[in-house]
Symmetry: C2
Subunit: 170 residues, 2 copies
Amino acid sequence: MTEPGTGPGAGGESLLFLTDEQLRKGIEAMFFAYRGFTADPDRILDGMDYGRAHHRALHFIHRAPGTTVNNLLSILGVTKQSLNRVLRTLIEDGLVESRVGRQDKRERHLVLTPKGEDLERQLSDAQRARMRAAYRAAGPVAVQGFRTVLEAMMDPELRRQYQTLKEAGA
Amino acid sequence: MTEPGTGPGAGGESLLFLTDEQLRKGIEAMFFAYRGFTADPDRILDGMDYGRAHHRALHFIHRAPGTTVNNLLSILGVTKQSLNRVLRTLIEDGLVESRVGRQDKRERHLVLTPKGEDLERQLSDAQRARMRAAYRAAGPVAVQGFRTVLEAMMDPELRRQYQTLKEAGA
DNA sequence: TTGGAAAGTCAACAAGGCTGACGTAAATTC
DNA sequence: GAATTTACGTCAGCCTTGTTGACTTTCCAA
């Protein structure tokens, strides 16, 4: 198997990494890696009455406490009916609290309850553990490249969303 | 969750890239990037009577012509009933041909028809175009890191599958 | 010849997407 | 102050793609 190498020297930058063959490997790597990426939370959620959609909602509410429904909608990229089904069960089960807005009373601000935080932590601990193992095995330079390629792969609008979140967290 | 500063690691290698904060960014990057990753084929398939599951089947049959149903099953990680539904429509529509095995006549060997190759090419062209743009923007070093981290993120069994495919293609 | 693997089928169901229509309250605009 | 827009919720129905379970047919191999 031919390897592109990182180029013999800074100047002679080979374009071998752009062959269809290399691109195909990247595509398949994304496919298989994403399975691993979701496997651990999925396993935890299996058996509970929740699924991946609930995980995503918990994650982003945890990330941006007090976010509005509309905001969450645009981050998750689903319809309000779809999100509502998920949100309703989380609220009913006491994992999420929906607070009427103070300035704008039409808005609902979403926050995790302690119980919601518990589940979120359980899920993200599992997901982070895998990510940590992968990062550690790959090393900081690889991680940097990983992030760079992923960002370049996003749709421009999603990239903006991602960067907003990214900065908000730091 | 407290995180270490610069680790006392060998060679003065910082462990800052392993903080929960960094890991969270990686997780969110995966989430948003995967959306971009599937967006173009999804758009093409929308309107046809096919979906992402059909795309995956076409991809791997194209990759490994003559593969058996069982083999495809283990690559895709779905049940035979689920795959069968997809496969049946593809066969009915003349995109995939199912050939009875010569040695083992219980097996069905799957190959794409010219019509199937057409659609597969259309889909993978779109997906490769995005991947190529991302690779080009990120550069060969980043791409190397990208692939390294993705491989480290896979379940061991899936990694073996991936590597088998990877070598088979080169 | 018989057990079991491979493939396929039917039925039923669930998660999680989607559209369309409708209702309500609050904010904004005219 | 009335009309419109916005934010949210909900009902109803549909689609894709996953699941289990039960069953049959084919056919290799012990």
